[in-house]
Structure formats: structure tokens, C-alpha cells
């Protein structure tokens, strides 16, 4: 369970820093082009390192493989999975994509991580 908590905590961090934050820090009057670019970069070049950029979908799949079967069987994981998939789908959604909607989708994933962490910490 401790490993699950750390994994979901890592997910929260990445969600907040690499997905939500680039959009949140755009100026209120940012042109649509900048919004599209920020959404794409957040989802498709999520973590940039010496080995190049990794997309969010790849990070999510790697993270799932580290989670215990016990956690993957919970309602909280199912909710989280659905919401992450919705967020990942934004990368392929038809343009123009709305910034407020994208932010809300990311917020919903964050909320799902909170529920998952609450459950794990209460049963630990």
C-alpha cells in the first residue's frame, strides 16, 4: 500500500506541475494558439529530460504497472482511471479546445487522486 500511495502522490505532482500548471500560468488573454500549444505540450511532451520528451499517456501506463492488484480493484482506482483517460483524450480532441474545460478535466483527475489517497491512508 505504501508503494501505491507514493505512486499516486507522484501522479498528483505530475498532474499539477506538468498538465495543469502550464495552462494555469497562461495569461488570461492568451491567444487560442497559445492555449492549443500549451495543451499539446502538456500532454505530449509532459516530462522533458536528457532522453527527450515523454508523453503523459506513457507515464500513466508505466505508473499503472507499478500499482498493486489490490488497489487496482478499488472503486477509487476505477474513477481515477476514467478521469485520466478523459484528460489524455484532450490531446486528440477537435480544435478549438477550451482552456477552462481542459483545466476542469485536470482538476477532476486531481480530485480523484485525493479520493484515492484518502482511501489508502485511511486503510493503511
Amino acid at each position: 500500500m505504501k508503494n501505491d500511495i507514493e505512486c499516486i502522490d507522484d501522479l498528483r505532482h505530475d498532474l499539477a506541475k506538468y498538465l495543469r500548471q502550464p495552462l494555469a500560468y497562461l495569461p488570461k488573454d492568451a491567444p487560442q494558439e497559445a492555449v492549443e500549444s500549451a495543451i499539446d505540450r502538456a500532454l505530449l511532451e509532459t516530462r522533458r529530460g536528457p532522453q527527450g520528451a515523454r508523453p503523459a499517456a506513457e507515464i500513466w501506463h508505466e505508473l499503472q504497472s507499478k500499482l498493486s492488484a489490490e488497489f487496482r480493484a478499488t472503486r477509487e482506482f476505477n474513477t481515477l482511471q476514467l478521469r485520466v483517460e478523459s484528460a489524455l483524450a484532450l490531446a486528440h480532441a477537435p480544435h478549438p479546445r477550451d482552456r477552462a474545460i481542459a483545466m476542469r478535466v485536470f482538476d477532476e483527475v486531481l480530485a480523484a487522486t485525493t479520493e484515492a489517497l484518502d482511501r489508502m491512508e485511511s486503510t493503511e
Binding site: 502522490d9 505532482h13 495543469r20 500548471q21 494555469a24 500560468y25 488570461k28 486531481l110 485525493t114
Partner: protein, 540 residues
């Protein structure tokens, strides 16, 4: 105006990009590149960079989490895991920064709702000049950076006359800046004249963000029987002489700050009531049927260590505990921060120069010499700076006298001495000019004998007590034909104030001045010697 310079410490380029792209009002410090987003990528590199160039940085933006190999992480503690070192790397870097640059503003950047932050929130809350970004939008980031930069400027100027460079005082300042934020009471302890009242107003109240008034209640001046009604108020007829409803100081300070000076003078029976007010934040005026709630930030001050009074049974332990040994701040005596005497003396010279009694004298002398009406102190070791105004030169012997003095009245005593030096020197200069002397120099040498004489006068004035016992007593210093005349004038005002304070009771005045109420006769003799007559005063 030049833009403030921000240094980003982050394993990625995200924050540097935000600053570079969106915060055009700031200049991004670029450690490696000439253009584009740039940052310091890890803790060891950050410390190395700051060691060489911290003067080029106005504010640090520090990420919290660094996903880096172990060798690039500073350890959070000797036993912490690499995972924890990475999660809390911002805290480890912050600690390393604080060790060497305690006043450098740092905004700690955390991803929104970062749960990891809860584990270190107490440590962060206890630091000054450290701000946690608690939102994740440009406006919040701008506000945090602007707040950090403004606080750094305020810290350099706030309580300007008070702060020096002594380490003891830096700790006090940092402690107070943290304490002033919450609603917890603060207990200021320190000898008389160490600046308790001044700091309560300038630092704590001003930084508390409370909108209500700052109310001062000096409990040494309130007759014991009236302390309860003075604090909590009273209704008409509550006791003999209560002819109308009266609001207490707690009610007056509602929404603001109440400074209870000399709290050790609170009668024991009132201490119990005070405890209830602190616990329940409710007061009940004497004679009233109902309580009322009050929201007051309480600052209590004592010139005696309350813990010792508790041990002697003179102060309630539960009230002492409630006032909070944890929020107790001891202000150092001036003799414990002698290193600050030159700094304080310089500040007090500037302050004296703008005093209503001194400023006209300064203008007269300055205009006679074609100089600007400003005054600066120059002592041994001080940097010689060009000035368009006047200068007071204090010879080495005089500095030595100031440095070697014990300063029982602390900062207030120093201010008093410096004020008199300024007033007297300007008076002499003015006198000389009137007499037709040709003063070509704008620098006036202070006679070391004058300094010694003033210090002796203060000592005699404060014999058995200290200048600081004059808390709340306003004394005006007027230029006169001799130092002795100035001194007698001051002494006269002091005696008159005490006479009024103690209702003409010489025993209590003797108790105050000499710590011995039996010496009333000696005090009365001195009273007459300096030309004060009881009958005339009572007729006024």
C-alpha cells in the same frame, strides 16, 4: 527604475519559462545562457552560484521537488531516503540558503495542493522571507513575488531606528515577523528602554494586517483598584465614582492590537480575569449583565522576567503559560549589542535633526553657512561621505565613552544623550554665529567632556532607577545657555510628570526613583532644589 532580478532554482525549465515569457516586469537571472529561459538545476549548483553572485539576485523562485540522481540532491536529513530528498529537495535547498543568506527572499513553488507540503508547513511558517506559492496562476505568482520583494525592502527600512547588525537582534526581528502574523499573544520581555513599545507598534501591529486600532495600556500608571475597569470597562454605578458607562481598553482595541505594558503590575485578582479573556475572547465590563466578544491581538510587555515572578508567586502561572512562553521574545539590552551603538547614534542624530525643537536651530546654522539643513554624525571609522549639510564630528575619546557606558536606560537613554548632544552643539554654533564668529567649516567637533558630562547627568537622573521608568513620560529638550540648564529643565519635566502620575505622593515618587519609599524627604528636597513648588503646582 531597474527591474528586480529573479533566480529560478528548478530541475526543469518550467518556472524559468513562465518568468521569461510572462513576467516581463522582472529580469530573469541567467546563470548559463544569454537569452531565453534559464535556471539553476540543483541545490549544490544553487549554493555555489549564490556564494559567488547572491548580490545579483533580489528574489529566488525555488521549486519543491527535484527528480534528480542522488548525487545532485542535498540531503534533507542524514537518514532520509533518496525519494524523500527528491520530494522535499526545495526544503533542503532552502535550509542551505537560510544558513548563509537569511534575508534573501525565497518563494517556494509547489504544484497545486501538494500534499508533501503539509509535512513541512510548520518549518516554513517559522521562517521569515520565505513565501509558499499557494495558488497556481500568474496573478498569484506575481502577488507572491511582489510581496516577497516588498517585505525585503520593508525589512531593510522597518523599525529603521531600532535595528542594527547585532546577531541577537536579527534573531529577534525574524521571530517577531513570524509571531505578528497569527492571533497568538506575544510576550515581550526586556529591560526598560529596550524598545518594547516601539516594536509593538512599528513591527508587530503594522505587520499583523489587523485593521483595528493600536491601543496602549500602561499598567504601571493605573491605580490597582481601577485596573479591572480600565481593562474590561464598567457600567454606570458599577462602583463608587462610575458615573457613566466606560469602555475598557480591550473593547477599544477590538479588531486591532492591545499593547499591555508592564503587565507584571496586574493585580493577581485581575490576572485571573485576564486569563479568561485570553482563553474565551470575551469580556464582561464591571456591572454588566452580558459578555461581549473581542478580537484583539495582545502584546504584553514586562521589564522583569515573568518566569521569575511566577516562581515568586507574584504572577499566575496559568496566565504566564497562556501568554505563551513559546511566543516570548526577549529584547537584548543595549550593552549586549554595543556593536550597534554607532549605527543607533547616527540614526538618533538624524532623528534629532528633524525634531521640532532642533530643526529651526539647524536651519539657522545651516543657512548661515550656506549649507543644507541636514545633519550627520561622523565618528572614527565612519566612511567619509561628501555632504551638502552639516556634520557632527565625534572624537575617538567620546566614542569610547559611549561604548563603555553601561546604558541602564538602554536605547532610550542613548537617544536622550544623542538628542542633547545635537541640541547643545547646535545651540553653541548658533550662539557663536550670533556673536559674530566666522565659522567656515560645516563640521562641528563635539567636546568629549560634554559627552561625559551628559552621561553623568543621566546617571544621576536615573540613580536607583533608570531613564526607562519614564515610559510614557514625554520630555522636551530645549536648547539653553548651558548644559546644566538643559539638564535641570529635563529633570524638572521628569519630576513634574512623576508628581502628576503619583498624585503628589513623594513616597511613591521615591519608590519609583530610588526603589525606597522612605526616601520621600530626599526627593522632596531635590524637587525644591530644581525650583518646583508644590503649592504652585497644585494651584495650576
Amino acid at each position: 527604475m531597474t527591474a528586480s532580478r529573479l533566480l529560478v532554482i528548478d530541475d526543469g525549465l518550467d518556472y524559468a519559462r513562465i518568468v521569461d515569457t510572462h513576467l516581463e516586469e522582472y529580469e530573469l537571472v541567467r546563470p548559463t545562457r544569454e537569452s531565453g529561459p534559464d535556471r539553476i538545476p540543483n541545490g549544490p549548483a544553487a549554493i555555489e552560484f549564490l556564494a559567488a553572485r547572491h548580490r545579483d539576485v533580489d528574489c529566488v523562485l525555488l521549486d519543491m521537488r527535484f527528480d534528480l540522481p542522488a548525487e545532485e540532491l542535498l540531503p534533507l536529513s542524514p537518514s532520509s531516503s533518496q525519494k524523500n530528498n527528491a520530494r522535499f529537495q526545495g526544503v533542503a535547498i532552502l535550509r542551505a540558503i537560510r544558513d548563509r543568506w537569511p534575508d534573501l527572499p525565497v518563494v517556494l513553488l509547489t504544484a497545486q495542493r501538494d500534499l508533501a507540503l503539509a509535512d513541512v508547513s510548520d518549518e516554513l511558517a517559522a521562517q521569515s522571507m520565505t513565501y509558499v506559492l499557494d495558488g497556481d496562476d500568474l496573478d498569484t505568482l506575481r502577488i507572491r513575488i511582489a510581496g516577497a520583494l516588498r517585505a525585503a525592502r520593508d525589512e531593510n527600512s522597518e523599525g529603521d531606528v531600532y535595528w542594527g547588525t547585532a546577531l541577537a537582534n536579527r534573531v529577534v526581528r525574524r521571530h517577531l515577523r513570524v509571531l505578528c502574523r497569527g492571533s497568538m499573544p506575544i510576550l515581550l520581555e526586556g529591560e526598560t528602554g529596550t524598545g518594547k513599545s516601539y516594536l509593538a507598534r512599528t513591527l508587530i501591529h503594522c505587520n499583523s494586517q489587523r485593521t483595528g486600532p493600536f491601543v496602549v495600556a500602561d499598567l504601571s500608571t493605573i491605580p490597582r483598584d481601577l485596573v479591572a475597569s480600565y481593562l474590561f470597562g464598567s457600567t454606570r454605578g458599577a462602583f463608587t465614582g462610575a458615573v457613566s458607562d466606560r469602555e475598557g481598553v480591550f473593547a477599544e482595541a477590538d479588531g486591532g492590537t492591545l499593547f499591555l505594558d508592564e503587565i507584571q503590575n496586574t493585580p493577581l485578582e485581575v490576572q485571573r480575569q485576564l486569563l479568561v479573556v485570553l482563553q474565551e475572547r470575551r469580556i464582561r465590563p464591571l456591572g454588566a449583565a452580558k459578555d461581549r466578544t473581542v478580537d484583539v491581538k495582545l502584546i504584553a510587555a514586562s521589564n522583569a522576567p515573568l518566569r521569575e515572578l511566577v516562581a515568586r508567586g507574584e504572577f499566575r502561572q496559568d496566565l504566564y503559560m497562556r501568554l505563551g512562553p513559546a511566543t516570548r521574545v526577549r529584547l537584548p539590552a543595549l550593552r549586549e549589542r554595543r556593536v550597534d551603538i554607532p549605527f543607533l547614534a547616527e540614526k538618533f542624530v538624524e532623528k534629532a535633526a528633524s525634531h521640532p525643537d532642533v530643526a529651526p536651530l539647524l536651519e539657522t546654522v545651516a543657512s548661515s553657512l550656506g549649507a543644507k539643513p541636514t545633519l550627520r554624525l561622523n565618528g572614527p571609522g565612519a566612511k567619509r561621505r561628501a555632504t551638502d549639510g552639516l556634520e557632527l564630528a565625534l572624537p575617538e575619546a567620546a566614542w569610547k565613552s559611549l561604548n563603555n557606558h553601561e546604558w541602564p536606560g538602554n536605547i532610550r537613554e542613548l537617544e536622550f544623550v544623542v538628542h542633547n548632544l545635537v541640541a547643545f552643539t547646535l545651540f553653541q554654533a548658533s550662539d557663536a554665529l550670533e556673536a559674530g564668529a566666522d565659522l567656515s567649516q560645516r563640521s562641528f567637533q563635539i567636546d568629549p567632556g560634554l559627552v561625559g558630562e551628559l552621561l553623568d547627568n543621566v546617571a544621576s537622573l536615573t540613580q536607583g532607577s533608570t531613564v526607562g521608568d519614564a515610559e510614557g513620560i514625554a520630555i522636551e529638550v530645549h536648547a539653553s545657555e548651558s548644559l546644566n540648564a538643559v539638564s535641570v529643565d529635563v529633570e524638572r519635566q521628569y519630576f513634574l510628570n512623576l508628581f502628576e502620575r503619583y498624585g503628589g505622593d513623594f513616597s511613591r515618587m521615591a519608590e519609583h526613583l530610588l526603589g525606597n519609599g522612605d526616601k520621600a524627604r530626599a526627593v522632596q528636597l531635590r524637587f525644591n532644589q530644581i525650583g518646583l513648588k508644590v503649592r504652585q503646582i497644585k494651584k495650576r
